[in-house]
């Protein structure tokens, strides 16, 4: 914001190196982000608008949107709750094994998603530990959308924890204590003092987790069962098209995922910017 403003007014910047760092950043973004996206649109050029529309609104594909979005939403909500709890525990309490738990938080990022998928699938299949426990109770996890949501939650929980954690650390315990010294119960202090403070980070983290879930493939396909119209995710539809050498079709579906993700990220950013400005009293 302020950078744009200086740009326009042409006043000199105090911080040196703007030209160089901005140039390198733009180059990097172009190579790593914009080039592949342009390639994607190149594939789309072979399609007429009507063909494009037909591909992305085909019944099986639309069903996959529903499955993906529904499961991702459930996963995001689960992650918002447990991610917040985990971040809270990691920031506010000292306990043996805290370091280990902290390191474990990054495991979903580090683990190849296929490994996660296979592990989850074997765990929740009717012969697996969890599956064997849950199925007699009437809970079928593997090969249902519950399994999809579970896999999504697993791969995206670090987004919530790692965005909320630093913001919580930034909130001094004194603020908490101030609320309580003024007579607030734990619940009220959390709702009126802590939650508003971490709210932007929580929404951002949850949003990122959601977007990540929309595109997840490896971790899900092993546990999803992949029944057409029932447990097929959009990423799988792209994969299927690719296997049929239908690159244009794959790109068309991919572009939908891309647009939805991009729009969401942009919305989060704009909203967060507004919120943060109020916190800093319009100063920054």
């Amino acid at each position: 914001m302020s950078q744009l403003a200086t740009w326009r007014t042409g006043s000199t910047r105090v911080l040196p190196g703007f030209g160089l760092s901005m140039g390198i950043s733009v180059l990097f973004i172009s190579l790593v982000l914009l080039l592949p996206i342009t390639g994607l649109f190149g594939q789309l050029a072979g399609l007429s608008l009507a063909e494009y529309w037909a591909i992305i609104t085909e019944g099986r594909v639309v069903a996959s949107y529903m499955v993906t979005i529904g499961a991702a939403a459930v996963a995001a909500i689960i992650n918002a709750i447990f991610g917040l709890l985990l971040a809270w525990v990691l920031v506010r309490y000292d306990f043996p094994g805290k370091r280990l738990l902290d390191a474990l938080m990054d495991l979903p990022f580090a683990l190849p998603t296929a490994v996660a998928g296979i592990t989850l699938a074997t765990l929740y299949a009717s012969s697996g530990w969890m599956g064997g426990l849950l199925e007699p109770l009437g809970f079928q996890v593997a090969y249902t959308w519950v399994g999809i949501a579970l896999a999504m939650a697993f791969t995206s929980i670090p987004f919530v924890v790692r965005t909320v954690q630093p913001v919580l650390e930034d909130l001094p315990a004194e603020v908490d204590e101030a609320a309580m010294s003024l007579g607030a119960t734990d619940g009220v202090a959390f709702r009126r003092v802590i939650l508003p403070h971490i709210w932007p980070a929580l929404v951002t983290g949850t949003g990122l987790a959601f977007v990540r879930s929309l595109g997840e493939f490896g971790a899900i396909i092993f546990i999803a069962g992949n029944m057409p119209y029932e447990t097929e995710i959009t990423a799988l539809m792209i994969f299927v098209k690719l296997q049929e050498y239908d690159y244009a079709g794959a790109s068309a579906i991919a572009s939908v995922v891309l647009f939805v993700s991009l729009a969401l990220l942009l919305a989060i950013n704009v909203w967060q910017g507004r919120f943060v400005r109020r916190l800093h009293g319009g100063k920054g």
Binding site: E174, V175, E177, S181, L182, G183, T185, R192, H280
Partner: protein
């Protein structure tokens, strides 16, 4: 509301932050907790507030507010106001909402009507002279203004006890002076019991009805500022309350000698260490038959009501500080490098600590 502490101790792991402490604070008193860093002031204040629990030992400590035993009462039910050193304002709330917070979280039965809350908040904001900033956010205020908001916020719930942890520590000298005066005024007007923490002796002496001097988790002395300054109970208190000059030497037949300096004192033979304040040192051009303490002026600072003169000599381990009236300063025509003679007008000795110190030096 009076405050009584019985046998309050506190450990953090293996470090003892407070030795068992007894302290009585009278109703309506303004008491300062004074001590060097790490002496346990904050810990004691937080225990009074209920933000920290005292040790639960074989004879657990007890905290009474008036007749009410609050030892096991949660901070939210103690009816205290706490002002944090770094304000701890709610950053996402306006000044108005910050001050109103304590009222809006009251249970529905006890909560005043919204009109009443509004009136009360504005009365408080008026008192801290911030009513024109009610809609600002904390980030838009100066440090002094933020501290006043935090005071108003603490006072909104009409606490019986107001606790302040270095409330003016982070502010510049002028604002600090102003806020100090203003806290005193507020205290006298609203008549609550206040305890504040400071490591600034001037602040403690100026503001408090009584001062609690602490060191190493112990209470060294509790007294009025006047008594404290005039009759310090021990060496620590004396040294902490102002600049001190040391004179150490051997006494034989009523004469203390130290290098080429000597001085007639009425003390038994042996090692002696005497302490004197800067204003207790007189400077002349000639020695007297009573004392021969040659010194050289190394620095002069003529700022303030008196001139501060730094003195050095080869018989002195540490330089002395003397304060001279401006008229004497002109009369003696003092300048750097000048050689003069010092005469103690008055001095003090703290036998216990001294004997310990003597033993230590002998061992070393």
């Amino acid at each position: 509301m009076s405050i009584h502490l019985h046998n309050i101790a506190k450990h953090f792991g293996n470090t003892q932050a407070l030795e068992p402490i007894n302290l009585d604070i009278h109703e309506g008193e303004l008491v300062g907790l004074l001590g060097p860093s790490g002496s346990g002031k904050t810990t004691l204040l937080r225990i009074i507030a209920g933000l920290e629990n005292a040790d639960r030992t074989a004879q657990p400590g007890k905290i009474l507010f008036g007749d009410r035993d609050v030892t096991n009462v949660h901070v939210r039910d103690r009816r205290i106001g706490f002002v944090f050193q770094h304000y701890a304002l709610f950053r996402h709330m306006s000044v108005y909402d910050n001050v109103a917070f304590g009222l809006t979280v009251l249970s529905r039965k006890r909560r005043p009507s919204s009109g009443e809350i509004r009136a009360r908040v504005f009365r408080l904001l008026e008192m801290v002279k911030l009513e024109h900033l009610a809609n600002r956010y904390p980030a838009q205020l100066s440090g002094g203004q933020q501290q006043r908001v935090s005071l108003a916020r603490a006072l909104a719930v009409e606490p019986e006890v107001l606790l302040l942890d270095e409330p003016f520590g982070a502010l510049d000298a002028k604002v600090r002076q102003e806020l100090r005066r203003w806290l005193r005024h507020l205290h006298d007007e609203l008549n609550f019991t206040s305890v504040f923490v400071t490591h600034d002796q001037e602040e403690a002496l100026e503001l408090s009805d009584r001062v609690v001097v602490m060191s190493n988790g112990r209470i060294e002395q509790v007294d009025t500022p006047d008594e404290l300054y005039r009759t310090p109970k021990n060496r620590f208190v004396f040294e902490f309350l102002g600049d001190v000059n040391h004179l150490e030497g051997k006494v034989t037949n009523g004469v203390l000698t130290c290098g080429d300096a000597y001085w007639h004192v009425d003390l038994p033979d042996g090692h002696a260490e005497l302490l004197l304040r800067p204003h207790e040192v007189r400077l002349t051009e000639q020695p007297t038959s009573e004392s021969h303490l040659p010194v050289t002026i190394t620095a002069i600072s003529p700022v303030g009501a008196e001139v501060r003169v730094e003195l050095e000599a080869d018989w002195l381990a540490q330089p002395w500080l003397a304060t001279v009236r401006h008229t004497d300063f002109e009369h003696l025509a003092l300048r750097r490098g000048q050689r003069l003679f010092a005469h103690p007008r008055h001095w003090r000795r703290f036998p216990k600590a001294e004997s310990k110190a003597a033993e230590q030096t002998r061992v070393a």
